[in-house]
């Protein structure tokens, strides 16, 4: 097979470019192998890990299958706790709500806790258009923001950067955004972390408005949960007068006790720790403690589309731990940018098409093919998302979306193959041409296959012909094991 395949350009081309960056490949291989080992160690500590995964999957599945009730309940409890609940169908609506709140307080800047959903909706850019600066306060987000870069990992958006690169970014860019990096900045991680602490502290101390996402939202109690490491989350959630949390509607869990399996699964899967340094929980407004004006924006932005997909729905269970990225052999080599989305890696390969729908743009359509279906992602996913099965189903949806009209060469090849493989007689006839085909492929010069791989020698006869000629080897006189080249 060759020629233009469905969805060919996007991921493969981006990946090709990424693969030529040996520094990137080195950074990624180092980082992912470190985190894989850490995860494996702390997961091995939990004897009932598989049951815990089942419990985690069940918590999310129950809430998703009962989502209408759970969302209404969440709205009720949040409101009763003094929070203001907003609903947003899409990114533009959510961004307008957040900007409106900031403007109501005459804020010209907001401090942000790292959140995937605000990246998904492009909140920082939308706020910038309204003249509001959004400061990312997570270390990796800061590196990305200062470096005018794009995130490449869910947990560690700057995973593609090594310490020396980070030092250079801090040196050259911190000054323009606030407190400059100290002159004697080295590339020691502890020194870099200290520089980030100094740089961001003044922003935390003066910020009037904080913006966050949430890892979980408990419908029964109106509690939001943010899981983090550095304390920047605590700063943003505690010090400003006003807090706005943008929460995807899939983040809801029904009951308080549902947090139990989730809080055990997430840190071990994510940073490979028994527990992350800080988890903050708040149920609306706590009088005299923290922000006294609390907003929650419940966001759809494609989630109901994903929910309607019976196979793909399970992707909404995702708790963004990034374990699937860290074990993915494709991600490890291409990095996150190749996926063209804030959600890279195996989860991105299914979530993007589920949120956006397939058949509209080549980039999205290429994502379900960005996998060998090796299954490593499913094996580690704490909420048991069967990513390979969803990938295969998404591929079928991509193909179906392109049925009708002029068939692409791949579709014709598949139809041809279906015809040949539909009858052994036809296959047998084609097999006799295998040798010619292989010789042709070799002569044809570098193709997608032969660019860096040799082809095997074609055998003299097919198995099927051998069986007929020798009665299944019974009349073969022992010369049946020397075929392989």
């Amino acid at each position: 097979m060759s020629g233009t395949f469905v969805g060919m350009p996007a991921f493969p081309e981006a990946a090709r470019e990424a693969l030529t960056d040996s520094q990137l490949r080195h950074n990624l291989a180092h980082a992912t192998s470190t985190i894989r080992a850490k995860r494996a160690k702390v997961v091995a500590e939990v004897p009932d890990w598989e049951e815990l995964r089942l419990a985690g999957a069940a918590v999310k599945e129950r809430a998703l299958l009962d989502l209408e009730t759970q969302l209404v309940r969440l709205e009720e409890t949040l409101t009763a706790n003094g929070a203001t609940v907003h609903w947003a169908r899409d990114a533009a609506e959510a961004n307008a709500i957040v900007a409106g709140i900031a403007k109501a307080h005459a804020a010209t800047e907001v401090v942000k806790v790292k959140s995937m959903v605000t990246q998904e909706i492009g909140l920082n850019e939308a706020l910038a258009e309204e003249g509001i600066a959004a400061w990312e306060t997570d270390l990796a987000e800061l590196i990305v923001q200062l470096g005018d870069d794009l995130p490449s990992h869910i947990l560690v958006p700057a995973i593609h950067r090594n310490r020396a690169e980070i030092r250079d970014i801090f040196r050259s860019k911190m000054g323009a955004a606030g407190r400059p990096a100290p002159d004697d900045l080295t590339d020691e991680p502890a020194v870099l972390a200290a520089a980030a602490r100094e740089h961001l502290r003044e922003k935390f101390l003066r910020a009037k408005v904080g913006v966050s996402g949430a890892n979980f939202a408990v419908a029964e109690t109106g509690t939001l949960v943010v899981v983090e490491s550095e304390g920047n989350g605590r700063m943003c959630l505690t010090l400003p007068e006003v807090l706005v949390s943008v929460v995807g509607i899939e983040k809801v869990v029904s009951r308080w006790e549902d947090l139990d399996p989730m809080l055990r699964l997430l840190p071990r899967s994510s940073t490979g720790e028994r527990m992350n340094p800080y988890t903050s929980m708040w149920s609306g407004i706590a009088p005299g403690d923290g922000p006294q004006e609390v907003h929650v924006v419940l966001l759809d932005n494609g989630r109901t589309r994903a929910l309607a997909d019976e196979v793909g729905r399970q992707a909404l269970r995702c708790i963004r731990c990034s374990a699937c990225l860290n074990v993915c052999p494709v991600y490890e080599r291409t990095g996150g940018h190749a996926y063209g989305s804030v959600y890279p890696g195996p989860i991105g390969a299914i979530l993007n098409p589920l949120l956006k729908g397939v058949g509209h743009d080549e980039q999205t359509d290429s994502l379900p093919y960005a996998s060998t279906l090796c299954g490593a992602c499913f094996e580690v996913c704490p909420v048991r998302i069967d990513i390979p099965s969803v990938l295969v189903d998404q591929r079928a949806q991509v193909v179906d979306a392109h049925r009708g009209g002029v068939p692409k060469p791949e579709a014709m090849a598949m139809k041809g193959a279906a015809y040949v493989l539909g009858r052994s007689r036809r296959l047998s006839a084609v097999e006799r041409l295998t040798g010619i085909g292989m010789r042709f492929a070799r002569r044809f010069g570098p193709t997608a296959w032969t660019g860096a791989r040799d082809l095997p020698d074609a055998p003299g006869e097919s198995f099927r012909d051998w069986w007929l000629r020798t009665d299944g080897g019974r009349t073969d006189g022992g010369r049946n094991d020397d075929q392989k080249g």
């Binding site: 074609a458 097919s462 051998w466 022992g478 094991d481």
Partner: protein, 251 residues
């Protein structure tokens, strides 16, 4: 027990020696396999590329060919996985209830070779002799879709004369992935190159796996690198005896 050999389309066309090895091996163990001539392919290339409608006629052929056998044995983890886990999806797509029923009946009877030997025949020592330094690559589908576990290693450990060496990063995918190998050729080759490097590091003469599709990819990279390491299917090692070793040397 009536046992059918599902040789797979790639073995049929490109690696008949693997199919022949299965026949020889099972015959030595007292099992006469039949080869239903109507068989073609499991349909996986279509399913994994997203062409479900196109896979339906292929599945019908598969079901017609293998219905009625007590066991269907195949020297491919990937094709066994396809039969066990994907055929129901294709049958569901067809809307044909008879086909769905037939698949439900047939799927559990499909065994990858090492599963058939260890679980059905209950043997790990198959009486093989193979005097080579060998490293084993567990293919993803055998490892994760089927869960063959250490069955292949147990079978290999019992082979006389063999020197088995551990493969670093063994559970990492080799980068084949069916149409992935051409749709995302650059990534596939990058993965294959890492796999080949690990294989060379072991100093093995032979890399063995339970799937010739992955071995085609790995072998293609190794051969392009002029590494001198050969790829051999698990069935061929298990089928080897002192006689065939002599034959190999004298040939």
């Amino acid at each position: 027990m009536r046992v059918a050999l599902m040789v797979t389309c790639i073995n049929d066309a490109l690696y008949p020696s693997t199919g022949q090895a299965v026949v020889r091996l099972l015959r030595r163990l007292g099992v006469e396999v039949e080869f239903p001539q109507a068989q073609t392919c499991c349909g996986q290339p279509m399913v994994n590329t997203g062409y479900l409608d196109e896979a339906v006629p292929v599945l019908r052929t598969f079901v017609d060919a293998f219905a009625g056998y007590d066991a269907v044995v195949t020297p491919s983890g990937s094709c066994a996985g396809s039969a066990r886990h994907q055929h129901s999806i294709v049958a569901g797509r067809s809307g044909d209830e008879a086909l769905q029923e037939a698949v439900a009946k047939l799927a559990p009877n499909v065994y990858e070779l090492s599963e058939f030997l260890v679980d059905v025949l209950g043997v790990t020592d198959v009486g093989a002799y193979y005097p080579h330094r060998v490293t084993y690559h567990p293919t993803c589908h055998s490892l994760r879709m089927l869960g063959v576990g250490n069955r292949p290693q147990r079978l290999l450990e019992a082979v006389r004369g063999i020197r088995l060496v551990d493969l670093p990063g063994a559970d990492q995918c080799c980068g084949f992935g069916g149409t992935f190998a051409v749709k995302n050729a650059d990534t596939s080759i990058a993965m294959g190159a890492d796999k080949a490097r690990h294989i060379r590091e072991t100093g093995a003469e032979i890399v063995v796996a339970g799937d010739n599709s992955c071995l085609t990819h790995i072998g293609g990279v190794l051969s392009r690198q002029r590494s001198g390491v050969r790829t051999v299917h698990l069935a061929e090692i298990l089928a080897s005896t002192e006689d065939s070793a002599v034959a190999e040397v004298t040939r």
